[in-house]
């Protein structure tokens, strides 16, 4: 049997050289093991004192066929390879030879005889059962390999595949993240109604403040500073702004407010608290725990837009 091993090794090395991928070696090993074990078992069944010579011959023959098969398979595509693997399994396991090579068929005839005998003798010997177990384990290995589609081939992986794989692994490892994929922050649109000719009413102002978890005064300050006008909250909790504004325009301003004062600057989560600390506003995130200061609301320079005479009349 030492000779066998000596013969075996170079073939394995050759396989490695030819195929380069680690998965293939496994597959090749499995392939190599399966028929060997069965034949060994069979020979043993036939002659319990283990005729070493016969054994050796059988193994050597098998090895040769394998080598030849490898040589022929090399130019084939991966699908063919997998098909061939399954074929070999069928041959060794079920017995009926469906080999694609001449040599293989020849060998299969030999094997077939053994197997016919085996079937007659079946369900007695431990060796038999062991061989079957071996086959099963081999099957399992191959199944695992097939689960990931591109194993067994040495083509270049596309970027998409690798990216998908990375994401799949990520999702498998932490299911929490998969659940909260990207929480969309849904806002109700502001209801804007014209009041007379020069004023605009923001009807659901307090509602939106509640949704954003912000003080109405803060949002009011921001809106008035951004729009450069004056305004106030009336008895029905509507915000009355001086000037004519459309819903689209107020949406823009609200979006800017949310970006600056509601969403966390680190993780973009809307689950935040606005705190005032020594004259500065801090945004504390409830999700990631980050805390950062936000710009104070300044109305900046205000140009005189009303009639100067009226102002003079007021002040004087």
């Amino acid at each position: 049997m030492a000779e066998d091993e000596a013969i075996f090794d170079p073939t394995l090395k050759k396989k490695k050289k030819k195929k380069k991928t680690t998965f293939d070696i496994d597959a090749a090993l499995a392939e190599g093991d399966a028929p060997e074990s069965t034949t060994n078992g069979l020979e043993d069944n036939e002659a319990p004192p283990a005729q070493e010579d016969a054994d050796d011959n059988a193994d050597i023959d098998l090895d040769f066929t394998k080598q030849k098969k490898k040589k022929k398979k090399k130019p084939f595509s991966t699908d063919d390879l997998e098909a061939a693997l399954t074929d070999i399994k069928d041959e060794t396991g079920a017995g009926e030879g469906g080999g694609q090579d001449d040599e293989a068929i020849d060998d299969n005839f030999d094997l077939d005889f053994n197997k016919l005998k085996k079937k007659r003798k079946n369900k007695k010997n431990l060796d038999e059962i062991m061989a079957e177990v071996d086959d099963k384990t081999d099957d399992k290995e191959n199944v695992d390999d097939n689960a990931i589609t591109w194993t067994g081939s040495d083509r270049d992986y596309t970027y998409e595949e690798l990216l998908n794989r990375a994401f799949e692994i990520m999702r498998d490892k932490n299911p929490d993240m998969a659940a909260g994929k990207k929480q969309k922050f849904v806002m109700r649109p502001p209801q804007v109604v014209k009041v007379g000719a020069k004023k605009t009413s923001f009807a659901n102002f307090t509602e939106i403040c509640k949704m954003l978890h912000r003080q109405p005064k803060h949002l009011l300050d921001f809106l008035l500073a951004e729009l450069g006008t004056s305004g106030s909250v009336d008895g029905n909790n509507h915000l009355i702004i001086k000037g004519r504004f459309q819903q689209k325009q107020l949406e823009n301003v609200l979006r800017r407010y949310i970006k600056e004062y509601v969403t966390c600057h680190t993780c973009k989560s809307p689950d935040t608290i606005l705190q005032k600390d020594t004259r500065l506003f801090f945004l504390q995130c409830e999700t990631c725990g980050s805390r950062c200061s936000v710009a104070s609301i300044k109305s900046g320079f205000q140009a005189v837009t009303s009639k100067r005479a009226a102002i003079r009349a007021k002040t004087a």
Partner: protein, 110 residues
């Protein structure tokens, strides 16, 4: 013999000088205000005092075909004031003229 450790080295030398002398520091606030009817007013606050605002306003008036003026404000310094909604125009013009970088411009209003 010189001791390298004790050499005077000002780590803030280039910080105080400013990264780029041509571009001003600080934000430029561009605001819009509504006037009567559908008239509006654009104000540009925060341009560096090193610039000659009068020359800028003269160029802007010609470029945007609008009237404009420079207003002295005790708190905010000199403020550019242009008639009409010139927010887009002034942003493009300031970056094109190299007076301010796009990330220094802050547009307010609707």
């Amino acid at each position: 013999m010189s001791i390298q450790n004790l050499n005077t080295f000002d780590p803030f030398a280039d910080a105080s000088k400013g990264a780029d002398d041509d571009v001003q520091d600080g934000l430029v606030h561009i605001r819009i205000q509504q006037r009567n009817g559908r008239k509006t007013l654009t104000t540009v606050q925060g341009l560096s005092s090193e610039y000659d605002l009068k020359k800028i306003v003269r160029a802007c008036k010609k470029e945007f075909a609008c009237n404009g003026t420079v207003i002295e404000h005790p708190e905010y310094g000199e403020v550019l004031q242009l008639q009409g909604d010139q927010r887009e125009n002034i942003c493009q013009w300031l970056t094109k003229a190299g007076l301010a970088k796009p990330d220094q411009l802050k547009v307010h209003g609707f």
